[in-house]
Structures are given as structure tokens and as C-alpha cells.
Amino acid sequence: MTMLMEYAGGNGRWPDLFRNMRHSQEEMSRLLGGLRLVPQAEFPPVNVWTGADGAIITAEIPGVSPDQLDITVHGNTVTLRGKRDPESVANTANTIRQERAFGDFTRTVVLPFRVDPDNVAARFERGIVFVELPRPAADKPRHIKVARA
């Protein structure tokens, strides 16, 4: 995800736009009877939050069970890898509509700083994964007192 750095310091205006675009794209393909003229946006969509202590990455992965998700951290790179299985429905069922995608997915996020891989915590709640990535203590920004000469 090389686009990350371009939006550093953004105030949320761009993401909003992209979300809307993605939704209108999906609406359009739905109107065309599921014919996907527009390629599906990357799955899963991620949000990246940063603070003095580190970063929090959240991703919308409804229908993915926690044991099907693999999170790896290397330096400043975080990779979410997983698989979304189709839900089990009776074999005799006829599919009337299929809008939810399934299969393997991978997303890589490059953070503007290194994180401490030993202290990464991930929590899975209501179809959203929250990954807390603290910065190593030695890497944290230090406040420098300025003294008058």
C-alpha cells in the first residue's frame, strides 16, 4: 500500500471521497445485475490511526474467523493475510443473489515508523480487527527542553 504516505496529515477528506466512490461503484455493478465492470476495491478496507505511542490498524473483515487471520509485523510493515470462507447454507439452496466476496486476501500497510513486534496486540470484535502497534520505547519521540543561554 504505497499510497499511505501521500495522505499523511490528511484530515479525513480523501478517505471519505474514496469510500463514497467505492460505494457508488458497488451500487453501479449491482444495478448492472452483478456484472462487475469495475474492479472490486482492495479487501479488506483498512484504517490507520497514529499517535505518539504508536499506531492502530483496523480492518473490516466480516465473516472471517479470528483463526483464519494471520498478522505479521516486520520493522514498519504490517501484513494482514487471511481467508474468507463462504457461509454454510444447505446444499439444495438456490443462490438468488451473491454480492459478498470470499477467498484469500492480503493487505500490507507501511507505517511511517518502526513498531515493537513483541508488543503487538490484536483484538477481533463484530467483524472488525483492531491491531495495536506500539513504538519501541527507544524510538519514541523525545521532548527536548530548550533552555535560555
Binding site: 499511505l4 469510500r19 484504517n47 490507520v48 499517535g51 499506531a55 473483515i61 447454507v89 438468488i96 463484530r126
Partner: protein, 127 residues
């Protein structure tokens, strides 16, 4: 089945500035029931509402926006919001026995079909 109300517009009664999304859905048809799966990541199980009026099935779900303290959003690809979608059912469904479960952000609805009443025969009497 059709869904005439998939505009993704803000819900009229949502007082707060929270967007409303149309959740993607899978719909399956079996002999006994219609099964629907809707992606509603972040939805609060207590805030899910399923209503059937005549043949219009309305599904709505609310979520609490996630805003960690002392953090700023650096890159965003999705927004927290509410979900709303309406479907017109072609089959007669027993509204009393609709079953809704939510797991890992997927709402699963089972709509049992009502047993069709046997066709009434109308005898035509010769005049």
C-alpha cells in the same frame, strides 16, 4: 427479489452525522426458507432491527464509531456508520418466525416460508 431503496443516503431519523450504508447481501432460497447474509461490520447486536411489513423486509443496524483517544486517522478506507437496506420478497414469509443471528459482523436471517394454502377449486355450474 428487488431492493428499490438502495441509495446509500443518510437515514432520515439518524440525528447524528453518521453515514448510512447499504450492506452487501447474499440471498439463498431453500424449500423451507429464504436465507440472507448481510455484511454489517461493527454493528452493535443490540442495534439490529429487522421488520417485515407486507412484503417489504427492512433491515437496519447501528454501530458505534471507533475513535481511539490520542490518535489521529492517518489513512482511511472505510467509515463507521449505520446500515439500512430494504428488500421486496416474492414469497410469502412467516413474519413471526424470522430468525436473526449476528456473528463476526455477518447478519444471518432465516425467513421461513409459509405453507401455501391449497388451491381452492371453484366449481362451475352449468347455467
Amino acid at each position: 427479489m428487488s431492493d428499490p431503496q438502495t441509495t446509500g443516503a443518510r437515514a432520515a431519523e439518524a440525528g447524528r452525522d453518521v453515514p448510512t450504508f447499504v450492506p452487501p447481501a447474499d440471498i439463498f432460497d431453500t424449500d423451507q426458507a429464504i436465507i440472507m447474509l448481510l455484511d454489517v461490520p461493527g454493528a452493535d447486536p443490540a442495534g439490529v432491527d429487522v421488520a417485515l411489513e407486507r412484503r417489504i423486509l427492512t433491515v437496519s443496524a447501528r454501530s458505534t464509531p471507533y475513535e481511539p483517544e490520542n490518535y489521529v486517522l492517518l489513512h482511511g478506507e472505510y467509515q463507521d456508520g449505520n446500515y439500512e437496506r430494504a428488500f421486496t420478497l416474492s414469497d410469502e414469509v412467516d413474519g413471526e418466525r424470522i430468525d436473526a443471528t449476528i456473528k463476526d459482523g455477518v447478519l444471518r436471517l432465516t425467513l421461513p416460508k409459509t405453507t401455501p394454502s391449497p388451491a381452492k377449486k371453484i366449481a362451475v355450474k352449468p347455467a
